[in-house]
């Protein structure tokens, strides 16, 4: 966690630009630029800034936005729910799409179904998620008029409805990776001795697949999800942009255009820390579910 915090600081303080000049405009006097830099503490040494940054972080103070002057914490708090909801829905979609596809592919190894699923996942890898989003908007919102084009919607039903397309788009970004790995994982389980034993006991193929194989493939799926969640969180930045959802990613890109330093720094940090937290939780849950995994 300290590593992530320091890396974020180092990353953004190597910026060659001059945020004070950007805000005051080209015609600002050198004196007013220097004054603004001083009030933000940007005229101090890098080391001094770093110590102050870590100190503020320990007290959960993330500073104020250079542009609007409001505290970064409140800006983030207002938007984190939107992003969390998107990540949540996308995860649900990703599991709902991945598990059946991988099961079909694994149980029909090297036959038509298997090749179809693998072909689809190869195709999916090459599709930029923003383009998938646009095509989905085109089909479902513009032509079929089933779902909203963008925005957050109103009321709980409206919110959920507005999250269907974005969630689906974000899910598709990781589904190809998930399907590939889960298919391999299921093939291993299918070749295991206990599956042969179940079959010998006369259990039906569907029962074996759903009850025994899926249960054993659950834990690898969970671990996989944990590993790919970083990529998923990254894709939400793009998906929020396509669907005009006012979440953290949307704010990140806005702040980048405005060179709003503290906000960019804080969002990068918050997103990275949430990935670390999610990974920790999935590891714990996997250890809970599977007695074979021992945490050191």
């Amino acid at each position: 966690m300290i590593g992530v915090a320091s890396a974020t600081f180092l990353l953004l303080h190597a910026v060659p630009g001059d945020p004070a000049r950007e805000i005051l405009g080209e015609h600002a006097t050198a004196r007013s630029v220097a004054a603004l830099n001083h009030s933000w503490g940007l005229d101090r040494s890098l080391w001094h800034q770093f110590v102050r940054y870590i100190g503020d972080l320990a007290r959960l103070r993330l500073g104020n936005s250079f542009v609007s002057g409001t505290s970064v914490t409140s800006l983030i708090a207002a938007r984190i729910g939107q992003t969390a909801a998107l990540v949540g829905i996308a995860t649900v979609f990703a599991v709902l799409i991945t598990v059946p596809l991988a099961a079909v592919a694994a149980s029909h190894r090297d036959r038509v179904h298997d090749h179809a699923v693998r072909g689809l996942s190869v195709l999916g890898l090459g599709m930029p998620s923003f383009w998938v989003g646009i095509v989905l908007i085109e089909v479902f919102a513009v032509h079929l008029k089933l779902l909203p084009v963008g925005g957050a919607g109103s009321g709980i039903g409206g919110h959920l409805e507005a999250l269907i397309l974005p969630g689906f788009t974000a899910a598709l970004a990781i589904v190809p990776l998930l399907v590939r790995s889960l298919r391999v994982g299921m093939l291993e389980v299918l070749n295991a001795d206990f599956v042969a034993a179940e079959r010998a006991n006369g259990l039906g193929e569907v029962r074996v697949l759903v009850w025994h194989v899926a249960r054993n493939a659950l834990i690898p799926t969970l671990t996989l999800l944990g590993l790919n969640i970083a990529y998923l969180v990254g894709s939400t930045v793009i998906v929020e942009q396509v669907f005009a959802l006012n979440g953290l990613g949307f704010l990140l890109l806005q702040s980048i255009t405005a060179r709003d330093f503290p906000v960019v720094q804080a969002i990068t940090l918050v997103l990275a820390l949430s990935v670390v937290a999610i990974n920790l939780v999935t590891d714990l849950v996997a250890a809970r579910l599977d007695p074979r995994i021992r945490l050191r």
């Binding site: 590593g3 992530v4 890396a7 990353l11 953004l12 190597a14 910026v15 060659p16 630009g17 190869v122 195709l123 890898l125 090459g126 599709m127 930029p128 998620s129 923003f130 383009w131 646009i134 095509v135 908007i137 085109e138 513009v142 970083a230 990529y231 998923l232 969180v233 990254g234 894709s235 930045v237 793009i238 942009q241 990613g249 990140l252 890109l253 980048i256 255009t257 960019v264 969002i267 990068t268 997103l271 990275a272 820390l273 990935v275 670390v276």
Partner: protein
């Protein structure tokens, strides 16, 4: 029998076996064919493209496909087919450039970390752990923000963000090779570390990095296009598939093809590279 008499026939036989394995991999052939068509079209863009990429015909904007403009024109009257070809030039060359540095860094750091172990390994792996915690797109976007948009920004951002997987893959392969007898023999023979690394370790570990580069380049090209879409990539008026899609998005209700066609170009490129990657992975996997 002398070895000289054997050599031609074994050489031919080996080539034949390799050819048979190549032919047995439809993925490699299909991917190779599509990719070479795309690359040829893109290289010869100045000859094929009917117009220049930024040539505007303001009396003829947003026209549908016609004999004069096979894929129509955009909102500034620029020929979509010509822009598509020139954009491919930009995206493919930037993607290729952006993937080389992480490949080299990652392979070098992974080899050194795996071979020397101890403190070197510890430091490299902690940097890897830290970078992995950042969501890929967030890291790349933040880095491009720091360096500034454009080709230089993209290349530097990927050099910093994307070497991690190469380092991990090569490191674990190196850990195995390090323990092998031929490396021990080379050490006993008094060879220097550098010669062992380059002459004995790398040839046995690099194939894994090469397999990964094929799937990585898909990721990188998609990311380059995404940065273009977000306005952080190659700057206009230079054509790039991403900015073409973002320009086309505003005309989605009336001219859907403007945003869809460049997307199909990206998907085809990605598909061909993935197929080659799969084929290569089969080919290089020890039998």
């Amino acid at each position: 029998m002398s070895t000289a008499a054997l050599r031609p026939s074994t050489g031919r036989r080996r080539a034949r076996i390799r050819w048979r394995r190549l032919r047995g991999s439809p993925a490699l052939i299909a991917g190779g064919t599509i990719l070479s068509l795309i690359v040829l079209a893109v290289i010869f863009a100045p000859l094929i493209a009917p117009y220049g990429p930024i040539h505007q015909d303001l009396f003829n904007t947003l026209s549908g496909p016609s004999g004069k403009h096979l894929l129509g024109t955009d909102d500034l009257g620029r020929d979509v087919l010509s822009r598509l070809l020139y954009a491919g030039r930009t995206d493919l060359s930037v993607g290729a450039l952006a993937v080389i540095f992480p490949f080299c860094f990652g392979t070098a750091l992974g080899t050194v970390a795996g071979y020397y172990g101890g403190r070197t390994d510890f430091v490299v792996m902690r940097i890897v752990d830290t970078l992995v915690a950042f969501p890929f797109y967030v890291l790349v976007i933040a880095l491009v923000f720091v360096v500034g948009p454009g080709v230089k920004g993209i290349v530097i951002a990927f050099a910093v963000a994307d070497w991690v997987v190469y380092a991990r893959t090569v490191r674990s392969a190196t850990l195995i090779v390090r323990e092998s007898e031929y490396v021990a023999a080379a050490k006993v023979g008094g060879l220097g570390d550098l010669r062992i690394l380059v002459g004995h370790v790398l040839p046995n570990t690099i194939s894994q990095a090469i397999v990964y580069i094929m799937s990585d380049i898909v990721l990188v090209i998609v990311a380059v296009v995404t940065l273009g879409y977000l306005g952080l990539g190659v700057q206009p008026p230079t054509a790039d598939w991403g900015s073409m899609i973002s320009d086309g998005q505003q005309f989605l209700t009336t001219h859907w093809a403007l945003a869809t066609v460049p997307g199909i170009a990206v998907v085809l490129t990605g598909l061909s590279l993935s197929l080659i990657g799969d084929g290569l992975a089969d080919l290089l996997r020890p039998q």
